[in-house]
């Protein structure tokens, strides 16, 4: 719906869908892990993907790295529909430009290799020119704040704290000059006191190098902190998106409202705030038609159980998939009327 004719987004994802088959041949069913996900990511932008476990956040990232093929959809990277131009396996050029940082900084580094080795590998693989690799390694370490770099290059992962390891993961992603970094819960396993440092590093890289980040998190507050835009996911669907500040201030989707009401807020008394909806995320195996949130939604209507709501703009740059905001034939009143898309 949002077209950017003049400056085309760096990444334009359209209708990305992933269904996993489960069960035997006779009773083949499908887990609908991701359905019709569409969004864009620009140069020097952080898009935060927020949702509970099983909402499809990591599936989105794994499809974008092309670690597995999508069931349907398009991934348009730098103007190229890459599922068409490189249908079978992602090219080295694509993999170089789209890097990933994983949640677990303990599992993502090889315990028997030095930090320097971890950073040399991508340099060797993606760039033929040898020569000053050591120099580049030291520069990378300095960039991510691991000083003195020469000291860190010769250490092993076990000698580093979780935060330092996560910085190594970031340095490793940076080694090949990527244009996009997919960061899957990069701070959730780190000590609380060092999380902000890693987020600030991401923000700096965004600004200094114009890297586009997809920041995956279950933590709304950190999404607001570094996400220019936030997308809320629920049960495999992208249900709402807006500029982060706008989303937290004026959430439109009942699920986003529920999520925000559940976040601990020291400033409010505990007893005063109540959760509006109970229950848990529905099963993703061959789900019934309609809105995935219908079973828990306090504002559910008949239509919600029949049809998946289309994407509607509630204000400029703020869209939602919710029947409350669709053009109501009976002329129902809404807080905010949909805006025409130009």
């Amino acid at each position: 719906m949002i077209t950017q004719a003049a400056n085309q987004p760096l990444l334009d994802v359209r209708g990305l869908t992933k269904h996993f088959p489960v069960g035997g041949l006779m009773r083949r069913r499908h887990v609908h892990a991701l359905n019709q996900a569409s969004f864009t990511l620009d140069r020097g932008q952080v898009v935060a993907l927020v949702g509970e476990s099983g909402s499809g956040k990591s599936t989105t990232a794994r499809l974008l790295t092309r670690l597995m093929p999508p069931t349907a959809g398009e991934i348009i990277f730098d103007g190229q529909d890459i599922l068409k131009t490189e249908p079978r396996k992602a090219s080295a050029a694509y993999r170089r430009q789209v890097q990933m940082i994983f949640q677990d900084p303990f599992g993502s580094l090889n315990p028997v290799h030095t930090i320097g080795h971890h950073l040399e590998r991508p340099l060797h693989i993606h760039r033929a020119e040898a020569g000053n690799i050591r120099e580049q390694v030291l520069e990378l370490l300095a960039t991510v704040g691991l000083n003195p770099p020469a000291d860190f290059a010769d250490r092993y992962p076990y000698e580093l704290s979780g935060g330092q390891r996560q910085r190594v993961s970031i340095a490793r992603a940076l080694a090949v000059n990527p244009r996009i970094i997919l960061a899957d819960e990069p701070i959730s396993m780190l000590d609380v006191s060092i999380r902000m440092g890693v987020l600030n590093l991401i923000e700096r890289l965004k600004e200094e190098r114009g890297i586009g980040f997809l920041y995956i998190t279950h933590d709304l507050a950190s999404a607001r902190y570094i996400g220019d835009r936030t997308i809320v996911m629920y049960a495999g669907h992208m249900v709402e998106s807006a500029e982060s500040a706008e989303l937290m201030q004026a959430p439109a989707h009942p699920y986003t409202q529920l999520l925000l009401s559940a976040v601990p807020n020291p400033q409010a008394g505990f007893a005063q705030r109540t959760v509006q909806a109970r229950g848990e995320v529905p099963s993703l195996v061959d789900p019934p038609p309609g809105c995935p949130f219908a079973a828990r939604c306090p504002k559910v209507m008949d239509i919600c159980r029949q049809a998946m709501p289309a994407r509607t703009a509630v204000s400029a740059g703020h869209w939602v998939h919710c029947h409350l905001y669709q053009d109501a034939p009976a002329g129902e009143t809404h807080d905010r009327s949909p805006i025409a898309v130009h």
Binding site: S161, V192, R195, S222, Q249, P264, F270
Partner: protein, 260 residues
Amino acid sequence: MITGGEILFKGQDVLDMDSAALQAFRWRDVSMVFQSALNALNPVMRIKDQIADVIVRHEQISKEAAYERAADLLETVGIERSRLDSYPRELSGGMRQRVVIAIALALRPPLMIMDEPTTALDVVVQKDILQQIEHLKQEMGFSILFITHDLSLMVEFSDRIGIMYAGKLVELAPAKEILDQPLNPYTQGLLGSFPPLVGEKIRLTGIPGSPPDLAAPPAGCRFHPRCPLAEARCRDLEPALRQVRPAHWVACHLVEGVHE
């Protein structure tokens, strides 16, 4: 083995108890809720047996009566009685954690220790369970020692907060006072590590450095290598936890006592 100290429960030192006394003490006086409900429950036992086990072990009661109690307990934590025959794998993460809470409640102990009981859960389920715990606490009158790394959750949920760093209690005060007037620089840094959900967007720095290696903790105040206010004495002398306000204790050389 405990190296030193005392644990006084209702005036009696738990460390002096023999094994028979300890067995009676555990779960009847103090029960515990663990972080990972999946690991705390036995995967091959029905949940009714896991709840009834605790009751039968501590009370002269028939299996049938224990199952009846188990069903009541499930209802208490918001699960239908019909789930009695379920196995843990048939329950969602939130329901499993409720079962673990039901087991902890089984003997109505005056104290429950909850070790990160909601950390593995999503925020909506977390909120739901915490509200239930709060409700049960008010109804049944037990006390909770709640262990968490999520300070924002604690400020909302607890009456008093103790802040620990590198194996030491460094501040202890009413929850509101921790939030409004934190005295230890570590507590202040910790509060500055949580981005707010509302209000102006401010740049947060967290705390520089990393938590220390406890095999070789720093001399003096264990926080001094990361402390923005550290002085010479902080490097050599370990600060004791002392009372500085009517209900406020802190371990820091830089905090002046304000005895009244």
